[in-house]
Symmetry: C2
Subunit: 128 residues, 2 copies
DNA sequence: CCATGTGTATTAATACAACAATACACATGC
DNA sequence: GCATGTGTATTGTTGTATTAATACACATGG
C-alpha cells in the first residue's frame, strides 16, 4: 500500500497523528483498507509527507491499541484480521454521529432552517 | 443577559476561550444576541461555569478585535452596533461551510451513501 | 553473519491553555 | 467622596500536547 493513502494537512489545527488515526478508522470501516492488508512503513509515510517517523509510529500505536491494526513482527503493520471487510452501515454511520450533532447545534445557533443546511450538504456530497 | 447563554464544555479538546468566541459569532450572526445587548460580565460567566475570569476576558477581547463586541466603559461588553440584526442566510451558511465539507469528506472515506447521511442529519436537526 | 528493513523507547524542545493573584483604569449610584 | 461594578494588564505557575532527534531491539533475506 502506498504512502499516499493518507491525506495529511500539516497546517491543520488537528494534530497529525490524530489525522492519521481517524483516517485509518474510516478507511478500514469503509473497506477501502482490506483486512490483512499491509500498511506503508512509518518511514515511507514520514518521508512522503515530510513529517517525523515517530509521529506516524504514534498513530500506528494508537490504532493497534484500538484493535484496528496488527503488528507483524519484522514485516510492519497490517489491518487487523478481526476487522474482516466492511462494517455495517449503522456502525459506520455511528462514526459520523458526533460530527452531525455538532452541525445541528451550530445550525441552530445560526438560526438556519434545516432544509437549507441539508440542501447545501447534499450539493457538496454530490459534487465529490 | 444571563451567564447561561454559553454552553461551556470544560472537557472538550477545544479551548474554552475559543468555544466562547465561536458561540458569540454564531449567536450574533443568528440574531439570538441582538445589537446593543449587554453581555454577562466576565465575573458572572466565570462564576457560573467555574472557570477563570481571565479566560472569559480573553474571549471577549478577541470578539472585540473581530468587531463582534463593543466595549462600554464602566458598563461591560455589548454586541457591536455594526452588527445590526441578523445576517443574511448566505452569510450565515458560509460559517457552516468548512464543517459541511468535513462531513462530506468523512462520509466518503466511510463509503456512506449521501442519502443516508442526509436522512440522519435531518432527523437530528428536526428533533432539536 | 550482516545489511536492511521493521516499529519504538527515550529524551528534549517548544508551544499552548488554564489558573491564580494582583493591581489598575474607568463608570455608576448612593 | 466612595463603595461597587465594569474589563484588563501583568506575572508567574502548572499541566499537557505535539513534534522532533537519537538510539535501540528485533525480524527478514540473502
Amino acid at each position: 500500500m502506498d504512502a499516499s493513502i493518507f491525506a495529511i494537512q500539516p497546517t491543520s489545527a488537528e494534530p497529525i497523528y490524530r489525522q492519521i488515526v481517524e483516517q485509518l478508522r474510516r478507511l478500514i470501516a469503509g473497506g477501502q483498507l482490506a483486512s490483512g492488508e499491509l500498511l506503508p512503513s512509518v518511514r515511507d509515510v514520514a518521508g512522503f509527507h515530510a513529517i517525523n517517523p515517530m509521529t506516524v509510529s504514534r498513530a500506528y500505536g494508537i490504532a493497534e491499541t484500538e484493535g484496528l491494526l496488527e503488528r507483524l513482527r519484522g514485516k510492519g503493520m497490517a489491518v487487523a484480521a478481526m476487522h474482516r471487510g466492511t462494517q455495517s452501515q449503522a456502525h459506520r454511520l455511528a462514526l459520523l454521529e458526533a460530527q452531525l450533532a455538532d452541525v445541528a447545534r451550530h445550525a441552530q445557533e445560526l438560526e438556519l432552517p434545516a432544509e437549507l443546511v441539508l440542501r447545501r450538504l447534499s450539493k457538496i456530497m454530490g459534487g465529490s
